[in-house]
Subunit: 337 residues, 2 copies
Amino acid sequence: MALDDRKQQILKAVVEDYIMSAEPVGSKALVEKYKLNYSSATIRNDMKFLEDGGYLSQPHISSGRIPSTKGYRYYVDNLMKEKKLSMVDINYIDNSISGFGDYEGLIAEASKVVSKVLQMPTICSVSSEDIIENVKVVNISDRILMVILISKSGNVKDCIVKLNENISEDMMNQMNTVLNQNLKDTPYESICDVLNRLIEREISVYKSVIDDITKSVQQEVLKKQQLKVNSESIPALLNLPEFEDIEKARNLINLLSTKDVLGTTLSKVQNNDVGIVIGSEIDEVVFKDYTIVSLNVKANENEVGKIGVIAPKRLDYSKTISTLKYIDKKIKNMLKK
Amino acid sequence: MALDDRKQQILKAVVEDYIMSAEPVGSKALVEKYKLNYSSATIRNDMKFLEDGGYLSQPHISSGRIPSTKGYRYYVDNLMKEKKLSMVDINYIDNSISGFGDYEGLIAEASKVVSKVLQMPTICSVSSEDIIENVKVVNISDRILMVILISKSGNVKDCIVKLNENISEDMMNQMNTVLNQNLKDTPYESICDVLNRLIEREISVYKSVIDDITKSVQQEVLKKQQLKVNSESIPALLNLPEFEDIEKARNLINLLSTKDVLGTTLSKVQNNDVGIVIGSEIDEVVFKDYTIVSLNVKANENEVGKIGVIAPKRLDYSKTISTLKYIDKKIKNMLKK
DNA sequence: AGTTAGCACTCACATCAATCAAGTGCTAAA
DNA sequence: TTTAGCACTTGATTGATGTGAGTGCTAACT
């Protein structure tokens, strides 16, 4: 079902007006605002057509139209013009991404910046396919060690380990060697398995130390491997008209606090660079009023993480996409160095 | 203005009923529910008295009464019975506080657990009076270092530093010595000053490395020195009847997202162990409907941090206090080891 | 003197009808 | 193919009205 010029024009206008106002848009208002050279009756006929085609829907029989998921999809794929990012935003991004720290830090930082620029919540995750390259054991103080795990792709994680007994400098070095021998090339998710197998084989003192290390790694490193949510922009979001309805507000807050759902949903978004999934395209009912725009962060062609913007379906698609693309460029530059 | 037995009994009943129901409580309902041996008229007279004394207030002239800040205060100081924590909660706490990591980790963990048990948001901060005991520089990989700052009270912080040029093993060791000599006994807030002064004195290569370190410390260590907010319980909170009003809900979300206000407010709470400030006792208007219950975390008589529960004024004071006291005991035990 | 029954009064809240405004679909004419 | 015109639908607003929970006050009771 192809859309002729006028119908496209109308669809575009409806989507953009609804993005602006969050109010159903009617034929008359549309003619006036967008100075279309047709009467409201013509627009009405076309709107009917668009509704029958599934691009628009009507909250109730005597109201204006709002875009459906299919409508937004058509808009994004065919009608939207990509706007350039404003200088203000570009400057803000340039000044905010410092590139200190490792990958994971960089992605987290970028995610925060995106959230700030778009005033929408964002989430980010780091690829879990990483494997260990190197392990360091550092003596912090009496009976306290730090274990540092360095991954192939450059992420650094550490945890503090409290020991039950003192160990000698010599033994520390041995620990270092043992851990390196055993953990090198181990993927993150298997670290504890490997360590546990090690414990079974080892003798007395080692055993206790490795046990302490295992628990701490489990607790401090692996648990933090989670999705990160940037929710600073929620107050701004809640001022949008759709959230006058307390139920909608609750849904949003709930949505953003279920990290597991957010995580699996983000991981399912298919995209090369920037990908968009809208409302019912996401197979989680809670997302039916939301869109996820996601960026794949790559380093040397390997995916190292994802950043996702979570927003009501009527988000500013254009600005969101430009922002993510700019961030992408920025990160690529940083990772090259 | 002393309160006789009956008036105390009434005040207690009003407070506890309002804590349960969030509805203004009237004289008749009170007599029925609490089987008071007086007529509703008598209760009414006393309620009038309590209102004149500032303990109760009336949302409007023909409604029941709700406790005022002064009423809650009187309740907390004189009427409330401290309940014992349930076994379920005790078990949950015992199993959840692992004590891995340093002070800061322990406090953050405890704060999270309190939030979970009480289903209220909590905040925590770590005393900033800490001074540096020891610095370690660890080689992570090519041109990447990790700097570890160990404080007198046992906190460990680290950051990753990317260098502009390679440095030798030998030079790393020198760096280690230099940093230790210069930073020992420096309070956190002066680290960057000290490092900057060092940069001015030092020569070429050092200069560049120390400069990189300074930036990274600034960015990764000091910025994270912030207040931590546990907001996982917000969805549960928003289901409370007072938040049917979207404005109230927005206020809550706003309140919890202004870290600076939360931080300074928490720091102002005066308390030995558990302290309570209610509504208008807090000199921040945004808190007028909220109470902060705060726990001072001490190690060897030194305050090392604070945990604060943020809740609507009609919180379950008794349970909140018992929970914090139990956590206090728990932490004291852990810090002894 | 303290307590209580009785009563007039207040006010939020729910209900119901009337009206209004924005929008629609359809038909017939241009 | 487009449009003017019109009957119709529906959510939102307004106003009247009744209800119920609660109050303060007074006079009678113990």
